[in-house]
């Protein structure tokens, strides 16, 4: 009985190698795109929820709350406008009498790269202030960027500063904070 000739089908070794090579190139390209997307997501996440964003938010909030409770005309700046002291009311909602003196003081200033806030009591009879607390309001402040403003004979105060996670590389994780508040009375 003659042997039946059967046709063998399949891939040659060369075809297989070429296929694997092409598949590898495509896989590397796709993984590059995915890695880049992941990096972009992390950057965006840090941009929205990162340290400097939280610091900027807290700094604006603290500055706003204290200055809106402060009495106009009590703002004192130092020579280069890098510290601000105000006298404010502990209960501004109960203080409608413009002649009633404030009972608290607050001072914003820079310590290395931290924006600090000292608070304490103010005795309107003696003019003596007594510090009772200090807090770090914001970190990562670019040293020379912090400036305050208190226009003469007006009721507003302003603050500007740049927060930068890594100033050495001029990173994307930086923000220039501007805020202004009207004083209480």
């Amino acid at each position: 009985m003659p042997k039946k000739i059967t046709k063998q089908s399949g891939f040659t070794m060369v075809e297989l190698m070429v296929t694997v090579l092409i598949a590898s190139i495509i896989m590397v390209a796709i993984s590059g795109v995915i890695a880049d997307a992941s990096k972009g997501y992390n950057q965006m996440y840090n941009r929205i929820h990162g340290d400097i964003i939280n610091d900027a938010y807290v700094a604006r909030l603290r500055f706003d709350k204290i200055c809106r409770s402060a009495r106009a005309g009590t703002a004192i700046l130092n020579a280069d406008a890098t510290t601000l002291q105000v006298l404010y009311y502990s209960k501004p909602n109960n203080t409608n009498d413009p002649n009633l003196p404030p009972d608290r003081y607050a001072e914003f200033y820079l310590n290395n790269t931290n924006l600090m806030l000292d608070t304490g009591t103010y005795n309107p009879n003696t003019g003596v202030i007594a510090q009772t607390g200090t807090e770090t309001v914001a970190r990562n402040v670019v040293g020379s960027s912090l400036k305050f403003s208190a226009p003469v004979n007006e009721k507003s105060v302003q603050m500007v500063m740049t927060l930068d996670k890594n100033p050495a590389i001029n990173s994307d994780y930086s923000i220039t904070v501007t805020c202004g508040s009207i004083m209480h009375n």
Binding site: R47, V142, F148, S156, M161, T162, T176, T178
Partner: protein, 151 residues
């Protein structure tokens, strides 16, 4: 390699291959444009937030000046550092620092309540004055307004 006569060879033609590559390239370009677009929109949002803060800074300063008709953010808000306000109206507000270098143009429009209805009740409002701040960046303008009582 010899082939039996009359038997056709199967496989992809060059045209088919080129077509497939073109389709893939268009798809990849589309995906890349999507990512570029999202990064661009995030940057635009950043600029627009900055515009809002500039507008608020000017408005708050003006309210602190009790609605002064001679209010000038360049001199009244004497902030230095990474913000500079220049011009005589419209004012140019430049924010710098870190990776940020954005310029805004701010126009101020005052409205006197003696001759205008400011609070929208159908009557003129003597003693009220309104300021509208239009801050323009590389994007569409942002308009904020507020009013104060001057007496």
């Amino acid at each position: 390699m010899r082939h039996k006569p009359g038997k056709t060879r199967s496989g992809l033609t060059l045209i088919e291959l080129m077509l497939a590559i073109t389709v893939i390239v268009v798809g990849v370009l589309g995906a890349m444009m999507f990512r570029y677009g999202s990064a661009l929109e995030a940057r635009k949002a950043d600029i627009q937030v900055g515009a809002g803060r500039v507008a608020l800074l000017i408005l708050e300063g003006w309210k602190g000046a009790i609605g002064s008709t001679t209010y000038n953010p360049k001199t009244d808000i004497s902030l230095s550092g990474n913000i500079s306000i220049s011009g005589t109206g419209p004012y140019t507000v430049q924010l710098t620092g870190g990776g940020m270098n954005t310029s805004y143009s701010a126009s101020l429009t005052r409205l006197d309540g003696a001759t205008h209805d400011i609070n929208g009740d159908g009557f003129n409002d003597l003693g009220l004055v309104e300021l509208t701040v239009t801050v323009t960046s590389s994007l569409r303008p942002l308009i904020l307004s507020d009013f104060v009582r001057t007496n």
